[in-house]
Structures are given as structure tokens and as C-alpha cells.
Symmetry: C2
Subunit: 200 residues, 2 copies
């Protein structure tokens, strides 16, 4: 504890609340911030304030955005027949990097997780169904939740809700990541890779 | 990249400049900041600004401090015959946690590292020597630089400068950390532990 610098102590405490940053790392970060030029540190402080003040949610897809509808929802070049459902806004740029995908998104805001008390009403599932009922252009929904237990359960739950709407529901493929080694693949992944095999 | 939220992109870029935080972690941190309550995020932004504005260096020991002389240098209960020399201000609270040490500190602001272009003039070595020449109370200097190659070289360099001033110069012991396993100790540490053995 820095008794001679309460402001540093406070900075360490607040940095230590960030995910994956313990007290030791927080100390290192705080000292780094003390060492860098004033304008760099203030830029970071302002960026935090700025992001909080400017960023909201797109009212259509629930992606983070400074405007609503967001950049993606309002892009006329997008394929409006295709919606990719992801858990978090953080997943949008990852999927959007794939050149062959030019569809729209829907951000759930998490995944079903009864143990954490997260049920269907805590996610933007109702909004997704309303969005689909109100838009006849939508032909396919790709469910791209994470391949975890909760992600799979969420995918299953969504597929049951969406199928009756006469829309194709697909799930992203699970298998061996490109560049990985079969030797180190776990048995569940390998079993999924075999199950999802495709003819040449 | 979040084309629909430039402020988030900027926050990710700035967080990614912090030590030990890559672009992926920066993304996670930025999203965490977007999710927490506004007041918590603003508290962090203010803490960064506050620390930069309020914190300076103690003009005696070069520890970070909101006042000069710092809390430690101006504490009348401290043993003024003893100075512990450390590399960074971050090391001060670590040493100060040791109850049996109630002396003063001197923060070098780094260590000698010719490969990085850090020479004696880049550290507060001259100030340390002046401080010792101006204060006859000082009887012992404990050099507590890190036990790395540069830290040892710095300790050696300092000891040669301080010895002629008729002051005891000591180096913190290197050996097996308490609670560690001999089996996993590296040979250099073990050799130092043997060399530094003490009679019961």
C-alpha cells in the first residue's frame, strides 16, 4: 500500500477490479501509467469516459454502437436474408472478419446459464423473434454461440424457437481448428469433427 | 475493429498499449468497461487523471509521493541510519511490509543496463551519494536491487561508490525462497544459497 500516494493506491484498487488483472498486475499497470507522458495517460482516461458516454446498443441487433441502427444494420450492401446470432458484441468483429459472410448480426448479450441465473428473458431472444416475424427477407439464421455447454444449450433452445417460423436454422461447424494438430485435439472435438465430415 | 463504435476501438488501442495487455485482452477489458456501471468506469478514468496530476517524486528518496518529502522520509519514527536502495518505487511497499525493517529508502528509478542505453546518469545514483555525504546519520546502505544480471551489476557498481564513504554496504541475501521446493530450485540459486549459509 502506498501510504504516501493515496491516488496511486486508488488507481491500483480500481485497475485490480478489471477482469484477469490481480493486485500485482494492477500495481505494474499503475506504475506504467505514472511513467508514461501525461497526454498518453489522459488519453486513456478520456477514452474510458468517451466510450461510456458515446456507446450504446443498436436497437435492431444489440451490437455496441455509437448510433442506432448500427453501421452493420444500416449498410445497404449487406445480405439481409442472413442473420448470425452471437453471444457477445465482442464476437461480431471476429465473425465480420470472414469475407464470405456479409449478412447481419444479432447479439444475445450472453448465453443461457441457469446456474448463474441467466434465463431467456435476460438475453435479447424475444427481440430476435420479433425481428424475424417483422422481416420477411430473413431466410437463414446461423447460430454462432460458443461451443461450450451453455453455448450449445442456447443454440438448441434458439433453434427450437426459430424453426416454426419457416426459416433455415444452422449451427457453425465444430471440428479441428485449421493449423491445429490432431494429436492434441480432445476427444469431444474429434468426435464432432468426424460427425461433421464432408465428402470431397 | 469496431467500425460502428470508434470510441471503443480507440479504447482498445490505448488499453493494448499497457504492458502485458495484448489486443485480445484489451478487447475484453474494453467490453468489461462498457458493461460496468457508469460511475465505476468514470472512477477509473478519474483515478488515472488524479494519479497523474497529484503524484510526483519525493525529492529525497525519489519514491512516488503526493508530497515531498514523502511519508517515509518525513516519518520521525524511522531509523535514519539505514537506507534500502531499490530499483523501482514499486519495490518500496514490498520491502516496507517487512516489520523488522524501519529504515529509509532510495529509489534508483531503474538499473544499469548498457544494452538499453541506461547508464549511471539515468538513475538517481548521484543524488544518493550527495544524500549520504550530506547526512552523517547514515551508517548502512542495503542494496536491494533485483537478483538479475543487471540488478547485480548495479549493486556491484553502487557498492564500489559507497564503500569509500565509510558506510557499511550490504546486499540482500539470495537463496531458496521460504516455502519453495529444493527440487525445483535452479542451480544458480542453490549455489548462492550454499554460499550464503549460516551457522545455527
Amino acid at each position: 500500500m502506498f501510504r504516501s500516494a493515496a491516488s496511486v493506491d486508488r488507481l491500483i484498487t480500481l485497475l485490480g477490479k478489471l477482469p484477469g488483472i490481480g493486485r500485482k498486475s494492477a500495481g505494474r499497470l499503475a506504475f506504467h501509467i505514472l511513467k508514461i507522458p501525461l497526454e498518453e495517460a489522459l488519453a486513456l482516461a478520456d477514452a474510458i469516459r468517451d466510450a461510456k458516454e458515446k456507446v450504446g446498443e443498436c436497437q435492431i441487433c444489440f451490437n455496441i454502437s455509437e448510433s442506432s441502427p448500427c453501421y452493420i444494420c444500416s449498410d445497404p450492401k449487406r445480405d439481409r436474408s442472413l442473420i448470425c446470432v452471437v453471444e457477445e458484441a465482442l464476437d461480431v468483429p471476429s465473425v465480420d472478419k470472414v469475407d464470405s459472410f456479409r449478412g447481419l448480426f444479432h447479439v444475445l448479450g450472453g448465453r443461457l446459464s441457469p446456474l448463474d441465473g441467466i434465463g431467456p428473458d435476460d438475453l435479447s431472444i424475444k427481440a430476435l423473434l420479433e425481428r424475424m416475424q417483422g422481416d420477411e427477407q430473413i431466410k437463414e439464421v446461423i447460430i454462432a454461440t460458443n461451443p461450450s455447454v451453455e453455448g450449445e444449450a442456447t443454440a438448441m433452445y434458439l433453434s427450437k424457437l426459430i424453426k416454426p417460423l419457416n426459416v433455415t436454422v444452422t449451427r457453425i461447424a465444430r471440428g479441428i481448428p485449421v493449423g491445429a494438430d490432431l494429436e492434441y485435439a480432445d476427444v469431444v472435438t474429434l468426435s464432432q469433427a468426424l460427425e461433421g465430415r464432408r465428402e470431397f
